[in-house]
Subunit: 152 residues, 2 copies
DNA sequence: TATTGTTATACTCTATAACTATA
DNA sequence: TATAGTTATAGAGTATAACAATA
């Protein structure tokens, strides 16, 4: 009889090739954990990621933002609405193409983005500090691969 | 002058220790990608993950489900409402403690869960198939570490 | 006509607050 | 009193459909 074990997520580990599930499960669980460890009072994830891109990558059109974050332009327009309503971003017409809208972070939005990044990385930084050097190297290598897959 | 590069997410890679950001960014980007690659017609992520746990891990109390998924009992109660409203899960009173509610997947819910898992792993399985053996080993090792961090 | 963006509407998932029922 | 669960309400984030403005 084959050895079986119930994983933390309730699925069965039967020893068969199952890397896809392992990666998806680890990513989903860790993403949930990031959410539950999120400091109160911050913007939501979507809005903060858009603000970070505007802060560090410069002004962007709505379409560029929506493609980068893999959401529809309609969804991104609403995220920009949220950022604009609290003064963290502003819209301006593109002078070269009146159909385009250029979105940029305000100085207040940039300050918020930078402060939030430090706050929100605190939890994962603490966890990584508890690992061995070998484990950190593994994660550094894996992060590169995962990023490449995500952006392919 | 220090070499700098703008990352895909718009932040600056200044070569300084930054593993926390790399991991968080890779996980967030990949999670977004999972969402955008999700087949139409499936349940949402939260509901499907609960259904998978009920299918493979057996019946659970509401509190157990909410703790496993790191959400409030109130949130989990609503996710169970969604599953129950379409016939994928049912509630029953715990005969030993009338305060408790036992939630279990119906046969239809179990079938849906198993079919959905295959559908939803198809994208990541394809991507992993394009990697080298070394890269897959790195991801397998990283998945274990990330899972441990997420569940700590 | 094609492209860019917006608004209206709706669904999922989450939270807090206030509540009921049982121990 | 403490524990287990629910409902009401609200907000973020997502989608599709229908629309306006510009190229």
């Amino acid at each position: 009889m084959r050895r079986q074990a119930i994983r933390d997520d309730g699925t069965i580990d039967d020893g068969v090739s199952d890397l896809g599930h392992a990666v998806k499960s680890a990513v989903s669980r860790l993403y949930s954990r990031f959410r539950s460890e999120r400091p109160d009072g911050d913007l939501g994830d979507g809005a903060l990621e858009v603000l970070a891109l505007l802060d560090r990558g410069g002004p962007q059109t709505l379409t560029a933002l929506s493609e980068h974050h893999r959401v529809t332009p309609a969804s991104m327009s609403q995220t920009v609405n949220r950022l604009a309503s609290v003064g963290y971003a502003v819209r301006a017409r593109d002078p070269d193409d009146g159909r385009r809208v250029i979105i940029r972070a305000t100085p207040m939005g940039k300050r918020l983005s930078q402060a939030a990044r430090t706050r929100r990385n605190a939890w994962i930084d603490d966890r990584l500090g508890e690992l061995s050097d070998d484990e950190r190297e593994t994660l550094a290598a894996a992060a590169v691969i995962l990023k490449r897959i995500a952006d392919a």
